[in-house]
Symmetry: C2
Subunit: 194 residues, 2 copies
Amino acid sequence: MSAAVKLTPTARVVLGMLKLGAQTGYDIKRIVEVSTRFFWGASYGQIYPELRRLAAEGLVEAEAAPRGGIARTVYRLTPKGERALRHWLTSDDELIFEYRDEALLKLFFADVLGPDELLAHVRQARAEFQDVVARFRDIGAGAEEDIARGQASPYVALRYGIELMEWVSAWYADLERRLARGDALVEPKDLQSS
Amino acid sequence: MSAAVKLTPTARVVLGMLKLGAQTGYDIKRIVEVSTRFFWGASYGQIYPELRRLAAEGLVEAEAAPRGGIARTVYRLTPKGERALRHWLTSDDELIFEYRDEALLKLFFADVLGPDELLAHVRQARAEFQDVVARFRDIGAGAEEDIARGQASPYVALRYGIELMEWVSAWYADLERRLARGDALVEPKDLQSS
DNA sequence: GTTGGCATGTAACTGGTTACATGATTAG
DNA sequence: CTAATCATGTAACCAGTTACATGCCAAC
């Protein structure tokens, strides 16, 4: 009974993408860019070294598979890698959640700003988050076919992303509307007893 | 006319906290922990070196101010630091937004899980996000006084955090309810044409 | 007397991005 | 012919966390 393999952050997405059918490091990167990028990224500088580590540990198998004159290495999960992926997916270790938000940091310090400066900031934040929503929607177009092929979960994750960013956009749009009307940042009626 | 100083990520929160009244590196850390931590952290390993860099650049002034036998250095913003803070707050550079979410990554790969494994995951995610809401609420208790003193914006940022995490919790709670009822991850009626 | 808070600091490590370099193949 | 895409890889850098070390003071 080998001790459970603890996957590095990058290994999680690498093994998962191999399971979903990615074959090369290039493949993994390409798929990540149009799917998990917004909540779990991976760069070449991470992927290639990680694939080697995983091969050394026996979680993946490498096979040279040149396409014409282009060097190409195809990877696939070994049974051990398959188990490690499932183990991670079903473990109840505390889930990583990282959130870094400069718009919110500026808002936090906004008491030093004048009303028009504050409004300009809120406007910018609203616009940027709306752009994110638009990009998510583009990705979503075409996801419906995957569901027919039994891959519902990527679609669900995408829906989550779209709805979350919509919520954020709406929050800023609401604040923008109130500030444009001349309201204070916090009206007495907003105060809720917790 | 000195070229505009580009603030490092940590400098942004350090200067901001000095403006809000923090005096020492220890102060900054303490305040960050109960306020911006969830969307903009800072560790000692960042704060102390950063304060020195800022002093070297003339954005802050250091003064030895021991308390009894405890060595203590008090920092305050120089006019140049004041300007750099305002410049950052009013600039329209693209806002940093980073989001890393392991719960969502697992959901993305969840097609390999059985219904009960999926439900267990969703349950865990819902529980963890509810805990975050609870922690935010604790911080919120007592924030009302600050508003009376004209510091509305930290309160607004906190409200944002609470409401965002409530939204996330509710999203998972809804999914959990549907899965517990035996629904598929995506019901045909969920499919929206974008 | 010992715990907890105040206060400062650093070394080692981890994780990740960016930029660069190389080169074949395919489509226009 | 040339631009885009496929494919692999590395070096340099940046940011950040964790763990450790030190030591005073106040409260219990």
